[in-house]
Symmetry: C2
Subunit: 121 residues, 2 copies
DNA sequence: CAGTATCCTAGGAGATACTG
DNA sequence: CAGTATCTCCTAGGATACTG
């Protein structure tokens, strides 16, 4: 059994505002990758840490990732309905570069902030 | 003396259309990084390989990179005017993750293409 | 529960033309 | 040479409400 995802797994919508010069796929793809890293999740589980993403946009993100072969969408024939999303091997292979990007950001974000502060005109 | 940049250094505008789930900064930031990798370049030099980017957009890209401390812009007091762009250490530090992203794309692009082809609905 | 259906808007990006 | 100045357009993304 995988641990439940925390509602404050990510600091907030502000994440996207930090000086992060890397982007994986669509705006929320990176966060979804993180959420699915530990195992399959259902839609409502993803909505917990990503509560600042509307269901429409989350659906779009998930569909795009499915289309590109990053994850599989499984509809379980139950009542109430249960749908789970799980990373494919291809999707997992994105984690490496994603970690690289995050490491870069963690290391260099202060320099960007400083450069922005010093920038005039 | 650095080698001149080739007009077909990049396949074409289609580059951006290939399944490339990574993005560094703005749309053309990655390409500019590549162009400046070998040494400082002037505006018109950059326009050679990036001839499918309008001057306005290229300027915007360069200004954003300058603002974030990725490159320096030097105006030489000459006639005709000469302006050169050069990567900072911070800008150079982006090359590593960029290479990682490109390696990923080179290795996995076929899988994405296949997934897209197989995707129905 | 797991989404759709609508409507709307900001700004990234491009085309075209002009200038210190 | 190294850019500006306008104008325009598109679509990713969001707000809100509803449904099988």
């Amino acid at each position: 059994m995988t641990e439940p995802l925390s509602a404050d797994m990510f600091p907030g919508p502000g994440c996207g505002d930090r000086p992060m010069p890397f982007r994986v796929g669509d705006k929320w793809t990176g966060w979804v990758l993180r959420c699915l890293d530990a195992g399959p999740r259902r839609f409502s589980e993803l909505r917990v840490p990503l509560h600042w993403v509307t269901p429409k946009v989350l659906t779009e993100t998930l569909r795009a990732m499915e289309r590109d072969g990053f994850l599989t969408r499984t509809v379980h024939d139950e009542r109430p309905p249960r749908v789970t999303y799980e990373l494919t091997l291809l999707g997992r292979s994105l984690i490496g570069p994603l970690d690289g990007a995050c490491a870069w950001a963690r290391e260099h974000a202060p320099e960007i902030a400083e450069a922005r502060g010093a920038y005039r005109s």
